[in-house]
Symmetry: C2
Subunit: 334 residues, 2 copies
DNA sequence: CTGAAAGCGCTAACAA
DNA sequence: TTGTTAGCGCTTTCAG
């Protein structure tokens, strides 16, 4: 069942059959319809390898997830399903590589990328892969799109969420509830998302004339454990509300608070960031800033497609909006 | 940079260059070395599409994960990293499709499979996809390997873990600790893994002359919630130890027990199954039966490779051993 | 709007 | 052991 068969059976040349099936507008409607119907009737499927060889396009996208295990990064784990769906819906394959980049990469990764197995690659990492990214984008000519990651130094196409706006929403929410003695557990200072979230929070607070002294800001590492430790350190400050820069740390904060005999939200209100699926089933369900992972994934795939056909800028950044999801970990003081 | 260049620069024909690089033994050592060195020097990479077209092999494996979200199935989530690594190490690409199968499938899935994008596909599901599997294996001629899934009706190559042995180990462990009033929360009765785990447990118990009456066996659904509910129902039986057929349900059981003011392991010992990563960080850390996901993944990829080159039987089943990981959720009664 | 023809880069008989 | 020669199935100029 090749294109030749379809062509012969429809009484056209192979070229016309090809054009008809690829929707080339220079084919008379009647002809195209006939060919398409015949292809359908014969159960024809284009041969992927042949198409790729002839056209120079594989219709396969790669995705690199440097995280060792999906368990310690629930946030990133969400993307794999969303990205897979977004790609499949556009009829693109999604090749997955769970490996480090550069030195920490499996050697197979570069071999595959260099042999033209994919048209572009998504990178979902959080740092220190600049060299690899530059090399594959510039030297190999394989477009790279960063997703939800904040490589500070890399000027590449990327899609992120609105950290700044999210931080601000938290400030507004807390102010509205009447909190004035607030604190925050940030992500690593080195990361842009941490910085934006903090900045948004701080500026939002400022608008409500709420102070955020140095002792009310402690740095975490975006992990459950670091959230726990940070919250312990914050106990002395006795905040009535804490903005924790991601949900995983918020879960750690819950544990710390429970350990200290404090109740959420009676004694202290907690707001997270990300809205990972488990945040809903915590006790109490976590008020948090939602990142729309599906939306971000759709944006990422579309951006990639444009990068591949050259219609995207060299460093477009797409910001996906965030929303505040009010649940039961915050309480009004009024 | 094509094979032609490498051939020309090494003073051999394209055929010889191809043979040299693919390790064909019919090439004189000196020649091969020369070609390989030249290829290396020139930074040559085989063109994947051309190779696939000419050889009829893509070196890409597909993987279908019907689960909606990786969050509600932590067990399966582990496989995606492990499978990715196993594939990459053997220089195979791994294409991921997170979609249902059959009616619930994205239409893109079948299009891609039918266009020969992959040499074979792994299915990580748990049921009701027999029609799809049969069709792609038999009609499309694309080998299918089931991983950690228990499609009861499907006679296909598969790799599973030793559920029977695992269940038995739990019985031995509990008996050794002096428990005699034991109970179990099983997985869905319809699933083979549930059946095997229960059967192993029951037969192990029998060897120690321990009874397992009907009231001590309650069926769960392999989810956190079902584990909680099942444990609640088991409270009346007042078991001193409960074998819960997977870790996620065990977590639910923890919650139920805590809610009922019972302590683990003081009042009741709990044993899980799977050893998902979080089981280690529960309070108390969960004693459980470990499935070696990495090992299973390696077995699966190797089995697939054999299925592709026709050296595997039509329904080989590989059983990966399980091990008991003793942690702190079980206590000795002696 | 359609067809003829030239490859895309590689592998695999078949010869030598 | 190596080279010659056909393709693999498709896309895409270039004519018509």
């Amino acid at each position: 069942m090749t294109l030749d068969d379809v062509a012969r059976m429809s009484g056209v040349s192979r070229a016309t059959a090809s054009r008809s099936l690829s929707g080339n507008p220079s084919v008379r409607d009647a002809t195209r319809l006939r060919v398409v119907a015949m292809a359908e009737a014969l159960g024809y499927r284009v041969n992927h390898a042949a198409q790729a060889l002839a056209s120079g396009q594989t219709n396969v996208l790669g995705m690199v997830l440097p995280s060792g295990s999906l368990t310690d990064d629930r946030y990133r784990a969400q993307f794999i399903g969303a990205m897979s769906q977004a790609a499949t819906q556009r009829d693109k394959g999604l090749m997955l590589w769970m490996t480090g980049l550069g030195d920490r990469a499996e050697p197979g990764l570069d071999r595959m990328v260099q042999s033209g197995m994919v048209d572009g690659v998504f990178v979902l990492s959080n740092g220190a892969d600049k060299a690899w990214i530059d090399r594959t984008a510039d030297r190999e000519g394989v477009p790279v799109v960063l997703v939800g990651s904040r490589e500070t130094q890399v000027g590449r196409c990327r899609v992120e969420c609105d950290d700044l706006g999210g931080g601000k929403m938290v400030a507004d929410h807390l102010a509205e509830l009447g909190h004035r003695r607030v604190a925050t557990i940030t992500g690593p200072r080195s990361r842009l998302d941490s910085q934006y979230r903090l900045e948004g929070f701080r500026s939002g607070l400022a608008e409500h004339d709420i102070q955020l002294p140095g002792s009310a800001v402690v740095e975490g590492g975006f992990t459950h454990e670091s959230g726990l430790a940070a919250m312990v350190r914050l106990l002395d400050y006795e905040p009535s509300a804490v903005f924790v820069a991601n949900d995983q740390m918020a879960m750690g904060a819950y544990v710390a608070l429970r350990g200290a005999g404090r109740s959420v939200p009676r004694d202290v209100s907690i707001v997270g960031f990300d809205d990972i699926p488990t945040s809903l089933s915590l006790a109490p369900p976590l008020t948090t800033v939602r990142q729309d992972v599906k939306h971000m994934s759709a944006l990422a795939v579309d951006l990639m497609l444009r990068a591949i056909d050259g219609t995207a800028g060299p460093d477009e950044r797409l910001i996906s909006p965030t929303t505040l999801v009010e649940r039961n970990s915050t309480r009004s003081l009024r």
